[in-house]
Amino acid sequence: MNKTHAPKRCWLLLVFLTPIAANAAATVEDRLARLEAAAGPATATNSGDNAWVLASAALVLMMTAPGLILFYGGLVRRKNVLGTMMQSMILMAVVSALWMVYGYSMAFGEGNPFFGNPTQYFMLKGVGAAPNAAYAPTVPQESFMLFQMMFAIITPALVSGAIAERMRFKAYVLFMVLWVTLIYFPLCHMVWGKGGFFNWSLGGRVPVLDFAGGMVVHVSSGASALVCAVVLGKRIGFPSEPMPPHNVVLSLIGVGLLWVGWFGFNAGSAVNAGALASSAFAATHFSATGAALGWGITEWLLKGKPSVLGVASGMVAGLATITPASGFVSVPAAFVIGLTGGVVCYAAVTKLKGAFRYDDSLDVFGVHGVGSALGLLMLGLFASAEINPAIGNTFAAGGKVVSLAGSFSQLGNQALGLAFTVGLAVVGTFIILKVVGAVTGLRVTPEDEASGLDLAEHGERAYND
Protein backbone atom coordinates (compact mmCIF):
# COMPACT_ATOMS: atom_id res chain seq x y z
CA MET A 1 0.00 0.00 0.00
CA ASN A 2 2.70 2.49 1.00
CA LYS A 3 4.62 1.96 -2.19
CA THR A 4 1.68 2.76 -4.43
CA HIS A 5 0.83 5.87 -2.45
CA ALA A 6 4.32 7.30 -2.20
CA PRO A 7 4.55 8.72 -5.73
CA LYS A 8 1.18 10.42 -5.27
CA ARG A 9 2.44 12.13 -2.14
CA CYS A 10 5.52 13.37 -3.99
CA TRP A 11 3.30 14.87 -6.61
CA LEU A 12 1.22 16.62 -3.98
CA LEU A 13 4.35 18.02 -2.40
CA LEU A 14 5.51 19.36 -5.75
CA VAL A 15 2.14 20.98 -6.38
CA PHE A 16 2.35 22.70 -2.99
CA LEU A 17 5.93 23.77 -3.27
CA THR A 18 5.99 25.00 -6.85
CA PRO A 19 4.12 28.26 -6.26
CA ILE A 20 6.24 29.02 -3.21
CA ALA A 21 9.46 28.46 -5.11
CA ALA A 22 8.26 30.60 -7.96
CA ASN A 23 7.73 33.55 -5.64
CA ALA A 24 10.89 33.38 -3.61
CA ALA A 25 11.19 37.14 -3.72
CA ALA A 26 7.80 37.79 -2.09
CA THR A 27 7.47 38.96 1.52
CA VAL A 28 7.17 36.49 4.37
CA GLU A 29 3.49 37.40 4.92
CA ASP A 30 2.77 36.90 1.29
CA ARG A 31 4.46 33.56 1.26
CA LEU A 32 2.60 32.48 4.39
CA ALA A 33 -0.70 33.46 2.85
CA ARG A 34 0.12 31.46 -0.25
CA LEU A 35 1.17 28.51 1.88
CA GLU A 36 -2.13 28.60 3.75
CA ALA A 37 -4.04 28.82 0.49
CA ALA A 38 -2.05 25.93 -0.88
CA ALA A 39 -2.83 23.89 2.23
CA GLY A 40 -6.34 23.95 0.89
CA PRO A 41 -9.70 23.80 2.59
CA ALA A 42 -10.18 22.58 6.15
CA THR A 43 -10.71 19.00 5.02
CA ALA A 44 -7.08 18.24 4.27
CA THR A 45 -5.96 15.07 6.02
CA ASN A 46 -3.66 15.67 8.95
CA SER A 47 -1.45 12.68 9.64
CA GLY A 48 -1.16 13.50 13.35
CA ASP A 49 -4.93 13.57 13.74
CA ASN A 50 -5.28 10.40 11.74
CA ALA A 51 -2.68 8.64 13.87
CA TRP A 52 -4.57 9.52 17.04
CA VAL A 53 -7.97 8.52 15.66
CA LEU A 54 -6.64 5.16 14.44
CA ALA A 55 -4.87 4.55 17.76
CA SER A 56 -8.08 5.50 19.58
CA ALA A 57 -10.11 3.11 17.45
CA ALA A 58 -7.76 0.31 18.48
CA LEU A 59 -7.97 1.40 22.15
CA VAL A 60 -11.78 1.30 22.06
CA LEU A 61 -11.74 -2.20 20.58
CA MET A 62 -9.34 -3.17 23.36
CA MET A 63 -12.03 -2.10 25.83
CA THR A 64 -14.26 -4.88 24.51
CA ALA A 65 -11.55 -7.48 24.06
CA PRO A 66 -9.92 -8.16 26.35
CA GLY A 67 -11.12 -5.35 28.68
CA LEU A 68 -14.83 -6.04 29.10
CA ILE A 69 -14.38 -9.74 28.40
CA LEU A 70 -12.05 -10.12 31.39
CA PHE A 71 -14.07 -7.74 33.56
CA TYR A 72 -17.34 -9.60 33.01
CA GLY A 73 -15.71 -13.04 32.74
CA GLY A 74 -14.18 -12.70 36.19
CA LEU A 75 -17.46 -11.63 37.78
CA VAL A 76 -19.47 -14.71 36.80
CA ARG A 77 -19.29 -18.25 38.20
CA ARG A 78 -16.70 -20.58 36.70
CA LYS A 79 -19.27 -22.60 34.77
CA ASN A 80 -20.29 -19.51 32.76
CA VAL A 81 -16.93 -17.87 32.01
CA LEU A 82 -16.70 -18.76 28.34
CA GLY A 83 -20.37 -18.11 27.64
CA THR A 84 -20.04 -14.65 29.17
CA MET A 85 -16.86 -13.86 27.28
CA MET A 86 -18.42 -15.10 24.07
CA GLN A 87 -21.34 -12.70 24.47
CA SER A 88 -18.97 -9.74 24.16
CA MET A 89 -16.58 -11.34 21.71
CA ILE A 90 -19.16 -12.41 19.14
CA LEU A 91 -20.33 -8.81 18.80
CA MET A 92 -16.94 -7.87 17.40
CA ALA A 93 -17.86 -10.03 14.44
CA VAL A 94 -21.63 -9.52 14.24
CA VAL A 95 -21.77 -5.76 14.75
CA SER A 96 -18.77 -5.13 12.50
CA ALA A 97 -20.52 -6.98 9.69
CA LEU A 98 -23.74 -5.00 10.19
CA TRP A 99 -21.70 -1.79 10.39
CA MET A 100 -20.17 -2.55 7.03
CA VAL A 101 -23.49 -3.36 5.36
CA TYR A 102 -25.81 -0.65 6.68
CA GLY A 103 -24.86 0.33 10.25
CA TYR A 104 -22.48 3.16 9.47
CA SER A 105 -24.93 4.48 6.92
CA MET A 106 -27.86 4.39 9.36
CA ALA A 107 -25.79 6.17 11.97
CA PHE A 108 -23.90 8.73 9.90
CA GLY A 109 -25.70 8.89 6.59
CA GLU A 110 -27.90 11.87 5.92
CA GLY A 111 -31.56 11.23 6.41
CA ASN A 112 -34.20 12.39 8.83
CA PRO A 113 -33.52 13.58 12.39
CA PHE A 114 -33.91 10.03 13.72
CA PHE A 115 -31.89 7.74 11.46
CA GLY A 116 -29.58 8.05 8.50
CA ASN A 117 -30.24 6.78 5.01
CA PRO A 118 -29.12 3.12 5.09
CA THR A 119 -28.24 3.15 1.39
CA GLN A 120 -26.02 6.23 1.34
CA TYR A 121 -22.95 4.40 2.63
CA PHE A 122 -24.29 0.89 1.89
CA MET A 123 -21.35 -1.54 2.01
CA LEU A 124 -19.23 1.49 2.95
CA LYS A 125 -19.33 2.85 -0.57
CA GLY A 126 -17.67 6.26 -0.72
CA VAL A 127 -16.12 5.83 2.74
CA GLY A 128 -12.45 6.14 1.94
CA ALA A 129 -9.54 8.52 2.01
CA ALA A 130 -11.55 11.71 1.65
CA PRO A 131 -12.52 13.26 4.99
CA ASN A 132 -16.15 13.89 5.83
CA ALA A 133 -16.11 17.61 6.61
CA ALA A 134 -19.11 17.44 8.94
CA TYR A 135 -17.73 14.75 11.24
CA ALA A 136 -13.95 14.81 11.13
CA PRO A 137 -12.48 17.23 8.61
CA THR A 138 -8.85 16.20 9.10
CA VAL A 139 -8.95 12.40 8.95
CA PRO A 140 -10.05 10.01 6.21
CA GLN A 141 -13.71 9.13 6.61
CA GLU A 142 -12.56 5.53 6.75
CA SER A 143 -10.75 6.26 10.03
CA PHE A 144 -13.83 7.96 11.45
CA MET A 145 -15.94 4.99 10.37
CA LEU A 146 -13.56 2.56 12.11
CA PHE A 147 -13.46 4.63 15.30
CA GLN A 148 -17.26 4.79 15.49
CA MET A 149 -17.59 1.07 14.75
CA MET A 150 -15.76 0.23 17.97
CA PHE A 151 -18.44 2.15 19.90
CA ALA A 152 -21.16 0.19 18.16
CA ILE A 153 -19.42 -3.01 19.29
CA ILE A 154 -18.94 -2.18 22.95
CA THR A 155 -22.39 -0.69 23.58
CA PRO A 156 -24.38 -3.91 23.15
CA ALA A 157 -21.53 -5.81 24.82
CA LEU A 158 -22.16 -3.76 27.95
CA VAL A 159 -25.79 -4.90 27.97
CA SER A 160 -24.69 -8.54 28.17
CA GLY A 161 -23.76 -8.07 31.82
CA ALA A 162 -27.44 -7.87 32.75
CA ILE A 163 -28.40 -11.21 31.23
CA ALA A 164 -25.28 -13.08 32.28
CA GLU A 165 -25.45 -16.77 33.13
CA ARG A 166 -28.93 -17.50 31.76
CA MET A 167 -29.63 -16.34 28.19
CA ARG A 168 -29.69 -18.67 25.18
CA PHE A 169 -26.91 -17.83 22.76
CA LYS A 170 -29.23 -18.01 19.76
CA ALA A 171 -31.63 -15.57 21.38
CA TYR A 172 -28.74 -13.34 22.41
CA VAL A 173 -27.37 -12.95 18.89
CA LEU A 174 -30.81 -12.27 17.41
CA PHE A 175 -31.56 -9.77 20.18
CA MET A 176 -28.31 -7.91 19.57
CA VAL A 177 -28.79 -7.71 15.79
CA LEU A 178 -32.19 -6.11 16.36
CA TRP A 179 -30.97 -3.96 19.23
CA VAL A 180 -28.11 -2.27 17.39
CA THR A 181 -30.30 -1.84 14.29
CA LEU A 182 -33.35 -0.38 15.99
CA ILE A 183 -31.81 1.39 18.99
CA TYR A 184 -28.08 1.99 18.67
CA PHE A 185 -27.72 3.09 15.05
CA PRO A 186 -30.69 5.50 15.23
CA LEU A 187 -29.62 6.94 18.59
CA CYS A 188 -26.11 7.41 17.29
CA HIS A 189 -27.58 9.33 14.35
CA MET A 190 -29.79 11.46 16.60
CA VAL A 191 -26.87 12.59 18.76
CA TRP A 192 -23.87 12.60 16.41
CA GLY A 193 -25.25 12.29 12.87
CA LYS A 194 -25.69 15.22 10.53
CA GLY A 195 -29.13 16.70 11.15
CA GLY A 196 -29.70 14.36 14.12
CA PHE A 197 -32.46 15.48 16.46
CA PHE A 198 -30.14 16.04 19.45
CA ASN A 199 -27.03 17.10 17.54
CA TRP A 200 -26.00 20.51 18.89
CA SER A 201 -23.36 21.18 16.25
CA LEU A 202 -24.87 19.73 13.07
CA GLY A 203 -28.38 21.06 12.75
CA GLY A 204 -30.28 19.33 15.56
CA ARG A 205 -33.41 20.65 17.27
CA VAL A 206 -32.63 19.96 20.93
CA PRO A 207 -28.97 20.62 21.75
CA VAL A 208 -27.75 17.79 23.96
CA LEU A 209 -24.08 17.73 24.87
CA ASP A 210 -22.72 14.20 24.74
CA PHE A 211 -19.02 14.22 23.98
CA ALA A 212 -18.22 10.52 23.84
CA GLY A 213 -21.44 8.61 24.31
CA GLY A 214 -22.89 9.03 27.77
CA MET A 215 -26.33 8.99 26.24
CA VAL A 216 -25.61 7.00 23.08
CA VAL A 217 -23.52 4.29 24.75
CA HIS A 218 -23.98 4.13 28.51
CA VAL A 219 -27.51 5.34 29.19
CA SER A 220 -28.86 3.39 26.24
CA SER A 221 -27.08 0.20 27.31
CA GLY A 222 -27.78 0.74 31.02
CA ALA A 223 -31.52 1.33 30.58
CA SER A 224 -31.79 -1.59 28.15
CA ALA A 225 -29.86 -3.76 30.59
CA LEU A 226 -32.41 -3.11 33.31
CA VAL A 227 -35.26 -4.12 31.01
CA CYS A 228 -33.35 -7.28 30.03
CA ALA A 229 -32.77 -8.19 33.68
CA VAL A 230 -36.46 -7.74 34.50
CA VAL A 231 -37.86 -9.49 31.41
CA LEU A 232 -35.46 -12.46 31.61
CA GLY A 233 -35.97 -12.78 35.33
CA LYS A 234 -33.57 -13.75 38.06
CA ARG A 235 -30.97 -16.45 37.83
CA ILE A 236 -32.11 -19.61 39.59
CA GLY A 237 -31.09 -19.22 43.21
CA PHE A 238 -30.75 -15.42 43.16
CA PRO A 239 -30.49 -13.77 45.64
CA SER A 240 -30.55 -16.49 48.32
CA GLU A 241 -27.73 -18.59 46.88
CA PRO A 242 -24.23 -17.07 46.96
CA MET A 243 -22.97 -16.16 43.47
CA PRO A 244 -19.61 -14.56 44.15
CA PRO A 245 -17.25 -13.65 41.28
CA HIS A 246 -15.20 -16.70 40.31
CA ASN A 247 -12.02 -14.70 39.69
CA VAL A 248 -11.67 -11.12 40.86
CA VAL A 249 -8.14 -10.99 39.44
CA LEU A 250 -9.47 -11.32 35.87
CA SER A 251 -11.92 -8.52 36.57
CA LEU A 252 -9.17 -6.24 37.87
CA ILE A 253 -7.08 -6.79 34.75
CA GLY A 254 -10.20 -5.98 32.76
CA VAL A 255 -10.75 -2.75 34.66
CA GLY A 256 -7.17 -1.68 33.99
CA LEU A 257 -7.65 -2.27 30.27
CA LEU A 258 -10.97 -0.43 30.35
CA TRP A 259 -9.41 2.64 31.97
CA VAL A 260 -6.59 2.78 29.43
CA GLY A 261 -8.97 2.07 26.55
CA TRP A 262 -11.26 4.83 27.75
CA PHE A 263 -8.62 7.40 26.82
CA GLY A 264 -9.27 6.38 23.22
CA PHE A 265 -13.01 6.40 23.81
CA ASN A 266 -13.16 9.92 25.25
CA ALA A 267 -10.03 11.73 24.06
CA GLY A 268 -10.39 10.04 20.67
CA SER A 269 -13.86 11.55 20.41
CA ALA A 270 -12.20 14.89 19.71
CA VAL A 271 -11.41 13.22 16.35
CA ASN A 272 -8.24 15.26 16.22
CA ALA A 273 -5.01 15.27 18.17
CA GLY A 274 -5.35 18.83 19.44
CA ALA A 275 -6.01 20.52 22.77
CA LEU A 276 -9.57 19.19 22.97
CA ALA A 277 -8.22 15.64 23.04
CA SER A 278 -5.89 16.58 25.90
CA SER A 279 -8.78 18.15 27.79
CA ALA A 280 -10.99 15.07 27.37
CA PHE A 281 -8.06 12.82 28.34
CA ALA A 282 -7.50 14.77 31.56
CA ALA A 283 -11.21 14.86 32.47
CA THR A 284 -11.43 11.10 31.91
CA HIS A 285 -8.51 10.36 34.18
CA PHE A 286 -9.53 12.60 37.04
CA SER A 287 -13.13 11.45 37.01
CA ALA A 288 -12.06 7.82 37.34
CA THR A 289 -9.79 8.93 40.19
CA GLY A 290 -12.62 10.72 41.98
CA ALA A 291 -15.03 7.83 41.57
CA ALA A 292 -12.54 5.22 42.81
CA LEU A 293 -12.16 7.31 45.97
CA GLY A 294 -15.91 7.97 46.20
CA TRP A 295 -16.91 4.31 45.94
CA GLY A 296 -14.00 3.01 48.02
CA ILE A 297 -14.49 5.43 50.92
CA THR A 298 -18.28 5.01 50.96
CA GLU A 299 -17.93 1.23 51.13
CA TRP A 300 -15.21 1.49 53.78
CA LEU A 301 -17.44 3.67 55.96
CA LEU A 302 -20.59 1.57 55.50
CA LYS A 303 -19.20 -1.97 55.38
CA GLY A 304 -16.03 -1.66 57.38
CA LYS A 305 -13.60 -2.71 54.65
CA PRO A 306 -12.48 -1.09 51.38
CA SER A 307 -12.96 -3.92 48.90
CA VAL A 308 -10.70 -4.23 45.89
CA LEU A 309 -13.64 -4.96 43.59
CA GLY A 310 -15.38 -1.91 45.03
CA VAL A 311 -12.54 0.45 44.15
CA ALA A 312 -12.35 -1.12 40.68
CA SER A 313 -16.11 -0.78 40.20
CA GLY A 314 -15.79 2.86 41.24
CA MET A 315 -13.21 3.37 38.50
CA VAL A 316 -15.59 2.02 35.86
CA ALA A 317 -18.41 4.14 37.30
CA GLY A 318 -16.24 7.25 37.09
CA LEU A 319 -15.30 6.50 33.50
CA ALA A 320 -18.94 5.99 32.51
CA THR A 321 -20.00 9.12 34.38
CA ILE A 322 -17.49 11.40 32.66
CA THR A 323 -18.05 9.99 29.16
CA PRO A 324 -20.64 12.61 28.10
CA ALA A 325 -18.89 15.42 29.95
CA SER A 326 -15.25 14.95 28.97
CA GLY A 327 -14.25 17.58 26.43
CA PHE A 328 -16.69 20.07 27.96
CA VAL A 329 -15.58 20.38 31.59
CA SER A 330 -12.51 21.44 33.58
CA VAL A 331 -10.37 18.97 35.52
CA PRO A 332 -11.76 19.94 38.96
CA ALA A 333 -15.31 19.66 37.59
CA ALA A 334 -14.44 16.23 36.20
CA PHE A 335 -13.09 15.17 39.59
CA VAL A 336 -16.30 16.28 41.32
CA ILE A 337 -18.46 14.59 38.69
CA GLY A 338 -16.45 11.38 39.22
CA LEU A 339 -16.58 11.59 43.01
CA THR A 340 -20.35 12.02 42.88
CA GLY A 341 -20.62 9.19 40.34
CA GLY A 342 -18.69 6.84 42.62
CA VAL A 343 -20.99 7.47 45.58
CA VAL A 344 -24.23 7.44 43.58
CA CYS A 345 -23.34 4.27 41.65
CA TYR A 346 -22.39 2.52 44.90
CA ALA A 347 -25.85 3.38 46.21
CA ALA A 348 -27.49 2.22 42.97
CA VAL A 349 -25.70 -1.13 43.01
CA THR A 350 -26.29 -1.87 46.69
CA LYS A 351 -29.48 -0.07 47.79
CA LEU A 352 -31.49 0.28 44.58
CA LYS A 353 -30.84 -3.26 43.42
CA GLY A 354 -31.52 -4.57 46.91
CA ALA A 355 -34.78 -2.65 47.19
CA PHE A 356 -36.23 -3.74 43.85
CA ARG A 357 -34.62 -7.20 43.79
CA TYR A 358 -33.91 -7.31 40.07
CA ASP A 359 -31.01 -9.46 38.94
CA ASP A 360 -28.88 -7.04 36.94
CA SER A 361 -26.17 -9.65 37.33
CA LEU A 362 -23.09 -7.54 36.62
CA ASP A 363 -24.61 -4.14 37.48
CA VAL A 364 -24.80 -2.62 34.01
CA PHE A 365 -27.70 -0.38 34.99
CA GLY A 366 -26.25 0.61 38.35
CA VAL A 367 -22.82 1.47 37.01
CA HIS A 368 -23.22 2.51 33.37
CA GLY A 369 -26.84 3.68 33.24
CA VAL A 370 -26.98 5.55 36.52
CA GLY A 371 -23.41 6.85 36.21
CA SER A 372 -23.76 8.26 32.74
CA ALA A 373 -27.24 9.68 33.40
CA LEU A 374 -25.72 11.55 36.31
CA GLY A 375 -22.84 12.70 34.11
CA LEU A 376 -25.23 13.98 31.43
CA LEU A 377 -27.16 16.02 33.98
CA MET A 378 -24.12 17.38 35.82
CA LEU A 379 -22.68 18.33 32.43
CA GLY A 380 -25.72 20.57 31.93
CA LEU A 381 -24.50 22.59 34.88
CA PHE A 382 -20.72 22.26 34.50
CA ALA A 383 -20.25 22.61 30.71
CA SER A 384 -17.67 25.31 30.09
CA ALA A 385 -17.28 27.46 26.99
CA GLU A 386 -13.72 28.16 28.12
CA ILE A 387 -12.84 24.47 27.90
CA ASN A 388 -14.78 23.98 24.65
CA PRO A 389 -15.32 27.35 22.91
CA ALA A 390 -17.54 25.75 20.25
CA ILE A 391 -20.47 25.42 22.65
CA GLY A 392 -20.43 29.17 23.30
CA ASN A 393 -21.34 30.23 19.81
CA THR A 394 -22.45 27.34 17.61
CA PHE A 395 -26.07 26.48 18.32
CA ALA A 396 -28.71 28.73 16.79
CA ALA A 397 -32.16 28.79 18.34
CA GLY A 398 -34.95 31.08 17.18
CA GLY A 399 -32.66 32.98 14.86
CA LYS A 400 -29.98 33.81 17.40
CA VAL A 401 -26.90 31.99 18.59
CA VAL A 402 -27.15 30.71 22.16
CA SER A 403 -24.52 29.39 24.53
CA LEU A 404 -24.80 25.81 25.71
CA ALA A 405 -22.51 26.37 28.68
CA GLY A 406 -23.68 25.26 32.11
CA SER A 407 -27.11 26.68 32.97
CA PHE A 408 -30.54 25.49 33.99
CA SER A 409 -31.76 25.73 30.42
CA GLN A 410 -28.94 23.43 29.27
CA LEU A 411 -29.73 21.13 32.19
CA GLY A 412 -33.25 21.00 30.76
CA ASN A 413 -31.92 20.07 27.32
CA GLN A 414 -29.77 17.34 28.85
CA ALA A 415 -32.73 16.00 30.83
CA LEU A 416 -34.85 15.93 27.68
CA GLY A 417 -32.21 13.92 25.84
CA LEU A 418 -31.85 11.59 28.81
CA ALA A 419 -35.59 11.02 29.09
CA PHE A 420 -35.89 10.33 25.37
CA THR A 421 -32.98 7.85 25.44
CA VAL A 422 -34.39 6.00 28.43
CA GLY A 423 -37.80 5.87 26.75
CA LEU A 424 -36.42 4.58 23.47
CA ALA A 425 -34.18 2.03 25.20
CA VAL A 426 -36.89 0.75 27.54
CA VAL A 427 -39.69 0.48 24.98
CA GLY A 428 -37.43 -0.73 22.18
CA THR A 429 -35.68 -3.35 24.29
CA PHE A 430 -38.97 -4.62 25.70
CA ILE A 431 -40.49 -5.09 22.25
CA ILE A 432 -37.32 -6.72 20.86
CA LEU A 433 -37.18 -9.13 23.79
CA LYS A 434 -40.81 -10.12 23.27
CA VAL A 435 -40.19 -10.76 19.57
CA VAL A 436 -36.99 -12.73 20.20
CA GLY A 437 -38.67 -14.63 23.02
CA ALA A 438 -41.44 -15.70 20.66
CA VAL A 439 -38.95 -16.84 18.02
CA THR A 440 -36.26 -18.64 20.03
CA GLY A 441 -37.13 -18.45 23.73
CA LEU A 442 -34.92 -16.23 25.89
CA ARG A 443 -33.59 -18.48 28.62
CA VAL A 444 -31.69 -21.73 28.69
CA THR A 445 -33.45 -24.65 30.40
CA PRO A 446 -33.08 -24.91 34.19
CA GLU A 447 -30.87 -27.99 33.65
CA ASP A 448 -28.57 -26.05 31.34
CA GLU A 449 -28.52 -23.13 33.73
CA ALA A 450 -27.45 -25.49 36.49
CA SER A 451 -24.68 -27.10 34.43
CA GLY A 452 -23.56 -23.73 33.08
CA LEU A 453 -23.56 -21.96 29.73
CA ASP A 454 -20.03 -23.04 28.85
CA LEU A 455 -20.90 -26.69 28.55
CA ALA A 456 -24.58 -26.38 27.62
CA GLU A 457 -24.31 -23.70 24.93
CA HIS A 458 -20.74 -24.00 23.69
CA GLY A 459 -19.57 -27.51 24.57
CA GLU A 460 -16.47 -26.30 26.33
CA ARG A 461 -15.12 -25.59 29.79
CA ALA A 462 -12.94 -22.63 30.77
CA TYR A 463 -10.78 -24.58 33.20
CA ASN A 464 -9.90 -28.17 32.43
CA ASP A 465 -7.79 -29.10 35.42
Binding site: P242, P244, P245, S307, T350, G354, D363
Partner: protein, 112 residues
Amino acid sequence: MKKIEAIIQPFKLEDVKEALNAIGLRGMTISEVKGFGRQKGHKEIYRGAEYTVDFVPKQKIEIIVPDSSVPAATEAIQRAAHTGKIGDGKIFVLNVESAIRIRTEEEGDNAL
Protein backbone atom coordinates in the same frame (compact mmCIF):
# COMPACT_ATOMS: atom_id res chain seq x y z
CA MET B 1 -5.61 -52.09 62.79
CA LYS B 2 -7.16 -48.66 63.13
CA LYS B 3 -7.77 -45.74 60.85
CA ILE B 4 -7.11 -42.32 62.29
CA GLU B 5 -8.88 -39.44 60.59
CA ALA B 6 -7.96 -35.99 61.72
CA ILE B 7 -9.52 -32.74 60.60
CA ILE B 8 -7.03 -29.96 61.34
CA GLN B 9 -6.23 -26.35 60.60
CA PRO B 10 -4.56 -26.21 57.18
CA PHE B 11 -1.54 -24.31 58.48
CA LYS B 12 -0.86 -27.12 61.00
CA LEU B 13 -0.34 -29.79 58.34
CA GLU B 14 3.47 -29.56 58.32
CA ASP B 15 3.68 -29.72 62.11
CA VAL B 16 1.43 -32.78 62.24
CA LYS B 17 3.35 -34.53 59.48
CA GLU B 18 6.63 -33.98 61.30
CA ALA B 19 5.18 -35.13 64.62
CA LEU B 20 3.96 -38.39 63.02
CA ASN B 21 7.30 -38.90 61.28
CA ALA B 22 9.04 -38.39 64.63
CA ILE B 23 7.21 -41.39 66.16
CA GLY B 24 8.03 -43.55 63.15
CA LEU B 25 4.76 -43.31 61.21
CA ARG B 26 5.55 -42.61 57.58
CA GLY B 27 2.85 -42.39 55.00
CA MET B 28 -0.46 -40.66 55.08
CA THR B 29 -3.22 -39.50 52.79
CA ILE B 30 -4.29 -35.89 52.95
CA SER B 31 -7.08 -33.90 51.33
CA GLU B 32 -8.29 -30.33 51.36
CA VAL B 33 -11.80 -30.30 52.73
CA LYS B 34 -14.37 -27.73 53.79
CA GLY B 35 -16.78 -27.90 56.68
CA PHE B 36 -17.88 -26.37 59.93
CA GLY B 37 -18.35 -27.33 63.52
CA ARG B 38 -18.34 -24.80 66.32
CA GLN B 39 -16.14 -22.39 64.39
CA LYS B 40 -18.20 -19.75 62.63
CA GLY B 41 -17.67 -18.98 58.95
CA HIS B 42 -16.86 -15.51 57.67
CA LYS B 43 -18.50 -12.77 55.64
CA GLU B 44 -17.52 -11.84 52.08
CA ILE B 45 -18.80 -8.73 50.32
CA TYR B 46 -18.81 -8.31 46.54
CA ARG B 47 -20.22 -4.98 45.36
CA GLY B 48 -22.29 -4.64 48.47
CA ALA B 49 -23.75 -8.14 48.25
CA GLU B 50 -22.88 -9.96 51.47
CA TYR B 51 -22.29 -13.68 51.51
CA THR B 52 -21.85 -15.68 54.70
CA VAL B 53 -19.37 -18.41 54.02
CA ASP B 54 -20.13 -21.22 56.51
CA PHE B 55 -17.76 -23.81 55.16
CA VAL B 56 -14.22 -23.07 56.23
CA PRO B 57 -11.22 -24.76 54.63
CA LYS B 58 -9.64 -27.60 56.66
CA GLN B 59 -7.09 -30.30 56.04
CA LYS B 60 -8.04 -33.94 56.47
CA ILE B 61 -5.32 -36.49 57.32
CA GLU B 62 -5.93 -40.21 57.05
CA ILE B 63 -3.51 -42.79 58.43
CA ILE B 64 -3.90 -46.52 59.11
CA VAL B 65 -1.83 -47.85 62.03
CA PRO B 66 -1.44 -51.05 64.07
CA ASP B 67 -3.55 -51.00 67.24
CA SER B 68 -0.44 -50.56 69.37
CA SER B 69 0.46 -47.25 67.67
CA VAL B 70 -2.90 -45.58 68.16
CA PRO B 71 -2.24 -43.81 71.49
CA ALA B 72 1.11 -42.41 70.31
CA ALA B 73 -0.33 -41.31 66.96
CA THR B 74 -3.39 -39.54 68.37
CA GLU B 75 -1.26 -37.83 70.99
CA ALA B 76 1.21 -36.65 68.35
CA ILE B 77 -1.56 -35.22 66.19
CA GLN B 78 -3.34 -33.70 69.14
CA ARG B 79 -0.18 -31.93 70.33
CA ALA B 80 0.99 -30.75 66.92
CA ALA B 81 -2.37 -29.46 65.74
CA HIS B 82 -3.27 -27.67 68.97
CA THR B 83 -3.61 -23.89 69.14
CA GLY B 84 -6.28 -23.69 71.83
CA LYS B 85 -8.66 -21.72 69.64
CA ILE B 86 -12.03 -22.80 68.26
CA GLY B 87 -11.46 -24.47 64.92
CA ASP B 88 -8.51 -26.71 65.83
CA GLY B 89 -10.44 -29.73 64.54
CA LYS B 90 -11.13 -33.30 65.64
CA ILE B 91 -9.54 -36.75 65.60
CA PHE B 92 -11.54 -39.90 64.83
CA VAL B 93 -10.39 -43.49 65.34
CA LEU B 94 -12.11 -46.22 63.31
CA ASN B 95 -11.74 -49.99 63.07
CA VAL B 96 -10.20 -51.36 59.88
CA GLU B 97 -10.95 -54.91 58.66
CA SER B 98 -7.88 -55.61 56.61
CA ALA B 99 -5.14 -54.10 54.45
CA ILE B 100 -3.34 -55.42 51.38
CA ARG B 101 -0.20 -54.02 49.78
CA ILE B 102 -0.88 -54.20 46.05
CA ARG B 103 2.74 -54.64 44.99
CA THR B 104 3.67 -57.54 47.28
CA GLU B 105 0.26 -58.95 48.29
CA GLU B 106 1.29 -58.64 51.96
CA GLU B 107 -1.67 -58.52 54.32
CA GLY B 108 -2.58 -57.11 57.74
CA ASP B 109 -0.09 -55.10 59.79
CA ASN B 110 2.67 -56.12 57.37
CA ALA B 111 0.95 -54.18 54.64
CA LEU B 112 1.08 -50.91 56.62
